[in-house]
Structures are given as C-alpha cells and as structure tokens.
Symmetry: C2
Amino acid sequence: MVTQTLKRTLLGQPIANERAHEERLTKTLALAVFSSDVMSSVAYATEEILIVLVLAGAGALNLSLPIALAIVTLLGILTVSYRQVIAAYPTGGGAYIVASDNFGSKLGLVAGSSLLVDYVLTVSVSIASGVAAITSAIPSLYEYRIILGAVFILLIMLANLRGIRDSGKIFAVPTYSFILGMALMIGFGFFRHFTGYAFVGSGKITHTALEPLSAFLILRAFSSGCVALTGTEAISNGVPAFRKPEYKNAKITLTLMSIVMGSTFFGITELARFYHIVPNPAETVLSQLARGIFGTGAVYFYVQATTALILVVAANTSFADFPRVSSLMARDGFMPRQLMNRGNRLAFSNGIILLAFFSILLIVLFNGDTTRLIPLYAIGVFISFTLSQSGMVKHWYKEHGKGWVKKAIINGTGALTTFTVLMVIAITKFVHGAWIVILVTPILITIFLTIKRHYKSIADQLSLVNLRPPKPAHNWVLMCIGGVHRGTLQALRYAKMISNNGDVNVIYVNTRSEEPTDILQKWDKYGFSSPLEVIKSPYRDVIGPIIARVKQIHNEHPDDFITIVVPEFVCKKWWQQLLHNQTAFILKTRLMFWPNVIITSVPYQLS
Amino acid sequence: MVTQTLKRTLLGQPIANERAHEERLTKTLALAVFSSDVMSSVAYATEEILIVLVLAGAGALNLSLPIALAIVTLLGILTVSYRQVIAAYPTGGGAYIVASDNFGSKLGLVAGSSLLVDYVLTVSVSIASGVAAITSAIPSLYEYRIILGAVFILLIMLANLRGIRDSGKIFAVPTYSFILGMALMIGFGFFRHFTGYAFVGSGKITHTALEPLSAFLILRAFSSGCVALTGTEAISNGVPAFRKPEYKNAKITLTLMSIVMGSTFFGITELARFYHIVPNPAETVLSQLARGIFGTGAVYFYVQATTALILVVAANTSFADFPRVSSLMARDGFMPRQLMNRGNRLAFSNGIILLAFFSILLIVLFNGDTTRLIPLYAIGVFISFTLSQSGMVKHWYKEHGKGWVKKAIINGTGALTTFTVLMVIAITKFVHGAWIVILVTPILITIFLTIKRHYKSIADQLSLVNLRPPKPAHNWVLMCIGGVHRGTLQALRYAKMISNNGDVNVIYVNTRSEEPTDILQKWDKYGFSSPLEVIKSPYRDVIGPIIARVKQIHNEHPDDFITIVVPEFVCKKWWQQLLHNQTAFILKTRLMFWPNVIITSVPYQLS
C-alpha cells in the first residue's frame, strides 16, 4: 500500500479511458512538446560543424556559411515533404507506418528500428549536451555529469508517466524561454557586429591545419551539421496528439517550427562566423557567444540555463514518440505485447521506462560525451526520412488522386535529397561510429522478426479451429510433505477438496537411513486417515522421487490431470522466506514442460 | 539435463547414505587434511614476527628466539588440552559444542561465530599468502593475484563438493611434499650455518629504528606470531571423520601434527635469525631463506611450489570444518536449515559454497594482501580456544569422574594461557584490524538469535497441540481469462474439475471502452456453457477487479477456500516467456497474505 501511495504521489490519480480525447495538445503546447528536439539541436549543431572545419585551420571556419545554407535548404525540403505526410496519414505513425504501408513490413521494420535507435540517441545526446551547457557555466559539476544525466532522464521519465497533457505544460516554459533567449542573442549579436563590436572567444586558434581542406572534410562537416534536422519528423509521428482538426493543426505547427528553427540555426552559425569563434572542449560555442555578446552576467546565465533546460526537455520528444512507435510495432506483433499497455495515466508506461533505460545506458557507455555520440545520431533519422519520403511517392502513385504528380515530385525530391545525405553521412561518419548503427539495425530487425514468428506460432497453436472435444479426464492429486504440522494439514484439506473422489497420494521422501517413525506416528494421529507413502531416497534427493512418480502416472494416463499439492509457508518478511526450502518452485521449474501437470502451493500464513 | 551432466562430471556420481561410514580418513590422510592449516602458517608466521620486530631496528630481530619459544610452549599446552577435548567429545564439534554444552547457547554462539569468522579468514589468509609465494618466484603474476586467489578458492570448493575422502587424497601429496621441503631446508640450513656459511637476503637493513623497543612491541610481535597456532583445534572439530576408533586416532594425529608443526616453525625462525633475514615486501622470508640456502635452482622452486600448494590446500581445513560447524548450528536452529542438507556426494554443499563466497569477498576487499588480513585472523581462534578450554574445566567439574582434578587443571592452564594471549592480541592488534572481528561477532550473534527466534515462532504456530477440527469448507473457483483459445479452455477444464460442483466464476476484465463482443461470441461457442462475467475496468487495471472479487468472497465465507485459476503459457525458451504477461505471478504476490486463497496457474505448453 505504501508503494500505491508513492505511485499516486509521483504519477497522479488514474485517468479513465473516456478522458483519452481530452488529453490533446493545443498548437501552442504542441510546438513546445514537439519542437524542443529540433530547436535544441542549435545548441550543438553549429559547434559540431566547426569542430570538423577547424581541422583544416582557422581559415576554413568561414565555410560554415555555405554549409548552414545547405542545411537550411534541406530543412525547407523536409518541411514541404512532411506536410504532405501529415495530410496523407492523419492517424500518425510516421516513417514506420508509411514504409510498412507502401513497401511492406520488412522495409517498415528498417524504418521502425531506425526510429527507435534514433529516439534513444535523441535522449542521450540532448541530455549529454544539456549537461555540457551546465558544466560550461559551472565547471565544478563536470565530474558528476553522468549522474546528472541519469537524474535528468529519470525526471523526464516521471513527467511522461504522468501523461502527455501534463507534460506539455511542464515543457512549454523552457521551450519558449529558450527561443526568447536565442532571439535576444541573435538580435543583439547582429546589431553589435554591424556596429563594429568584436571580442575574443575562449577557443584557441591553431594556425597549423591538421588535415588539408578537402571536399571530404567539408562533407563531413555538413554531415555533422545534419544533426540539426533530427526531430523534424516528430510531428508527423504524433498527429493524433493534436486537437481537432488534427492534421491541419499539425501542418501549421510543423511550418512554424521549421521557420523558428531554421532562422535560429542560421543566426547562430553566422554569429559564430562574425565573431571568429573557435570550438573549445571546455566551453560550448553557444556559451562563448553568449559570454562575448552579453558579458558574464545575468543574461549569460539566462541563456545557459534555458539552453540546458531545452536540451533536457528535448529528450521529451522521444518520450512522446518512442512509446507510440513501439506500441504500433507491438500491435503488429514485432515487439513485446506489454508495450501496448497504457498505464493508468494513459501513457504507454513500459515504452517510457524502456527508453529511459537504454538512454541512460548510452550516457554511461559513452561517458556522457556529446561529440562521441553525434556520429551515431543522424544516420537513423536519415534512413527513416528516405524510407518515409520514397514511401510517399509510391503512395501518391497508387492513389492516383488529384494533382498526384506534383505531390509525388515534391516527396520524390525529398527522398532523393535525404538519400544523398544519408550516403554522405554513412561514408564520412563510418569510422567515427556510424558503423554501430549500421550493425545494430539488422540485429534489431532480426529480433523483431523473431518476436513476430513467436506470436504467430502461438496464435496457430492456440487457435480453436479444428478443436477436438476433450476426453473425459481424472485429476490425480499428489502431495509431498516434509513434516506433519498445521501447514501440512491445511494443504491436505485442500488436496482432498480438489480430488475427484477425495483420494490423495501423500508422499514423504525419506533421506535418512532410518525409518521416519516420528512422521508416521504423527500422521496416524492427524492425517485424516489418508495413507502416507514413504519413499526411500538414499541419495538424499527430495525432488527426484516425486518427479519419477509424476512421470509414471502421466505415462499410464496421458490425458488425465496430475496435481501436486505443496504446503508453503508465507513469512511476513522477505529474509524469513530464505530460511525455508523452495520445493514448489523447484518442482515447477522441473515439470513445466509436462502437459496436464499442475503444481499448486497451498500457502500457510505465519505471523 | 545438460546441467545434470555437468554436475556429474565436476562432482562425480552420487553417494548413498549407507556409504557414509566408508568416507572416513586414515591417520595418514587425516594428518594431510587437518594439518595443512597449521603447517602452512609457518610460511608467514615467522615473517609476521619479524615485520613487527624490525620496527625497532635490525638488532631487535634476535628477539625472535624467545618469541618462537613462547609460541612453541603455547602449542604444547594447546595440544595437551585438546587431547582431552577429543577424548571427552568423540562426536566432534569443538569449541561450539563444548561451550554450548557447558555454558549454554549464548557463549556457544560466541564460540561458533568466532570459529566461522576464523574459517573464512583461514581461507583468505592462506590463499593470499599462497599467491604471494607464487608471485615471489614469478613477479609478473603479481597484478593477477586477486583473480588467482579466487580461482584457487573455487577449485578447492569443487574438490570439497566431491566429498571428503576424495579431497583427502587430493591434499595428501602437497602436505607431505611441503613437510619434506621444509625438512630439507632446515636440515641443510642448520648444517651450512654451523659449518660457517653465510649469505645476504634481499630485505634491506635499516639501522635507524622507527619505534623504541618496548614491551608492547614485543607483545605485538608475539601476537603476530600466534597466527601459527590457528588450526590447532581443527582435529577436535573433525573427530567423526576419522576411522574407528575415532577419538584415539584423532588424539594420535593431533600429537603428531603438533610435533611436526612445532619443530618446523622453530627451525625456520632460527634459520631466519642465523642468516639475519630482514622482511621484504617484494619477497617472502621463506623465499629469501630457500634462495640463500639452495641458490635459485630446482630445489628453490620446489620449496616455493610446495609452499604455495600447501597454503592453497590449507584453506581446505576450513572447507572441512566450516560446513560441519554451520550444519551443527543449523541443527540447533541458529543458521538456515539448508546448511544441514548433505549434497548427493555427502558433503554439506551449501556451507561449502557459502565459505567460498565470503573468503573470495575478503580477498577482494583486502586486495589480496596477507599482512592486512593477519590482524583479523588470530583473535577469533583465541576466543574459541578460551571458551573451549574453560568449558572443559566446567565439564570435568560437573562429571566429577576419576582424576577430574588433574584434567581440570590441565584445561584450566590452557584456558588461562589462551585468555591471556587473547587479551594481548586484542590490545596490541586492536587498531590494526582486530576491531573488525570484535564488531562483527556481536552482529553475527544477533543474526543467529534472530533466525532461532523465527524458527521457534514458526514451530509454535505450526504445532498441532490444541488443533481444532477444521470446519467443513467449500472451494470457490474463479478463473480470469485474457482471450479465448486452447490455453483458456485447458484451464477451464481444470477449473471445472477442481470445483466441488463444477461451477466456475469466469471473469474477463475489460480495459477497452467498447464491449468485448469478439470475446463474448467465442466464449458462447467454446466455453462449455459456463457463464462469462465481464468486469469493466476504466483505469485499465486488470489485477484490481480480481482482487476485489476475492476479498468480497473471502469476507462472506472466511473459512472457505478460494482458488484462482490462471491460464499460463509455457514457452520453450526463457526469452519467449518475457513476451507474455505474468498475471499469475502478480496475483500471487498481491494475495499471498490472504488465508485460504490459492492461485493455480494451469500451464499450456507451446512448442
């Protein structure tokens, strides 16, 4: 009952099925919930571009302008494409649904597993980067970054277990505060730059280039910057969470989100170029900019705090989508059924907990380092972008509706572009970690197919088609005792009750050398005149003789039930339970593959 | 079945009860089994004395002669005393039995817990020191010392799980090889010394004393040397393992053991004094001696190898005694009953495994360092020495047999001497680690008493005294289904069979908003015309409504049985089981404190 109270306090009162539709998001709340992922990536995308470019010397940093322009263009293409996805699939589901629908379940699984991997990485990367924003401002917290990350993830998990509308409220403030902070910084930063202001960042300028400025290096920088686009698809997965009319509200929100995101990303990248910011492992690019533009005062700390907050909150997009996609995949039999269960606050509790587990695992494995996680990140998203967009081309072709050619061209352009980017990322980032995702995806797909095969085989075996009427059967009741006491007699009473004719075969396995006269005498007095059979076990094995007896009855009467009744003590405290033998459990494990054999433990409560 | 085969291969065929008496030890084997502990301590006892003495400068090392003489005298007193213990308690049990018998269970527990702690330390110290002998000869293995130690302990555990006579054979060769090596070294070493040979050991002589030569320091050195005596009591605990006449053979073996041990210890200490050996953390005193006397050749490696071997083997004394003492304490209700079970090779398997676990834990916690473990070591033994000897005084007094005064005086001298030594050790070693044992002992005693109280309370509750005849009762059978399939029908067939009148209350908990028409239609067709009750659960809780129903029936009919039948899938592979809900388990956990409520899962085997 204590656990029940704790659960209520942390998660709130249960919510009934009927209220499911109330739990919908307004556009303002939806923008907060779904945009935190894509918005927050401005906190590290520019930096990841510069980290690659600086390898060719400080002069190469100017190339951030064309790279940023390319990424913003890509964002535009994606936005137009995804508006069409939302319109065509108003029930949501995104890449997994679109790919399954149009290319069948195999490619659907490729999209699904890419999405799942990506949601886990969104959480890990955002949290690692959010913690980095904090440790840039307060360096003494650096050594606690892994624990900090884990705590943040657990807090977001809790918020999501409470249910989605509540989480919308929780996350609206940080998202809008961050957007305000960025707007201030970009506005003031541009103004001061064009009025002649300059400062020196904390990053060291090395005049010697480590690598020549090659096309490959530029593409690698571009690939790094593409992490800015992860999360663009979030809204298309979450259409049903919008208020009615769902798909219209979702489209408007998507366009709004892309405009805000695109201008912020471009603004920050330009600021970094204007002020000649060089990446520094000890301080983020954003922190250098804010410190230089505003000085280390209240506004600087506001920017750092809201950056950290939105990054922590960004993880929330995944907490909205991972459980939804995995519940869809569970519905199709590719993931464990438990992922379909809504908790009593209407959230898919198991998916939420699973996501928290894996993202904390990644934080620990990668030591909470954003830059080491980034190469794993974008590849999954671009796989699902490509599958989703090319699926849409097929969709329009199949539908052959009004204006289908135009629509197919739009999504075709999207598919071609994202596929090209996917190849660029896979090649330029392969050795840096993209191989992990390329390795994990087929493993995941194998697991999903194995699960599906299992459920299918079970459904076949359980099917009632061609059911033969059962033969009349008997219930043989065995009971094994270790002594004669109230627990034994309680079990005997029950055993006699469930036996068809009151007959119970009571067995005492004697591991001693001598006759168990003490047991026999007590049984004569208290055993309700049931006979007691003593089986000698010279090798002191208690379980073996019972199993032998069960096998013997089963072979003689294969259609009959055999029930083994085992008296069991129930102690008040868990450690007390360790002081008793676990016969019922061992019997159950040993006999579980024997048909028609039932092990029943009759509890006897001790105070 | 694979696990069964593996078990047979590692542990050998089962041994029947009738063969228990065959598994007895001849004197030659017994000397090997029981003396390895006390014999092996010569490998570190001299060194531990010198480590303390050298604090007062190299000149103080000569004091090892009087200290060694004192310890040998102590050994003589103990031997005479323990011969009387063996004669008086031919069934074995040592300090725990003697103290319980004569001073009651409280002091018996003090002795018992001291013994148990000591057996664990015997294993840890011997293994740590055996590994040190190996790393003295092969320094590159030093960094693997903890893993090496753990592997050795696991091997000894295995040997002991095979049964005691087999282990006697395994351990006879190392013990006698070590005694031979020591005899050679002492003989040759004395001869060369008196014929004028000298060499310089690897230990550095520091001419500046770190501490003044005080009486306290000398007593501390003496305390360190007393570790040589741990294991003297081993034979008195293990009398029943001897061939008949047990107590006579045991007495002879004890005397033999003390003579061999005493002369070896004295010989080595004198050798170290003759050759001015100074302790060196990187090389044991024994290694310095053997290298100096024989040169670094075959004989040197023979000495090192047999030293390592006997130290590893020494741990075996504890593996013979710890399980025996803990089975005695379990018999008396102070430890979990499972410690009384003999495995199918006649060994007390659980005690053996427990000892291995704790000794490996100590090796890990103390980083495999002998000198850090030593201060914890002797104190437990001397507590049990004192209790055992003073118990014997009371024993003779109570018995008042022929020559009891003489016998009482012998044991009284033993008690007085060991008590004095106990105080010396407790005081001089307190800060170095003795406090840990002084702290742990009362904690252990509290645990033992708590376990005893639990068993006593259960025996009272289960007692058949004043048993009232049970009221005639009914068996209410509930069944909860999640769908209609072969598994459900199998469970329904069973449920009808165990119900007194064939009535089964079948419940479907509906977590959806709409009516479960699919389920109802199927049930109409296949449900053996049992009515199906649908309970609406708007908060999607499946367990709650079932529990509410059980509580309702229980309150109306508190004396009746209520059986909840739950269909359960049995999958071939463990991971498949994870893909299904665990309703039976959850129900069992939630209802286990309700009297007369039985949860029965009816397995349905899937291929």
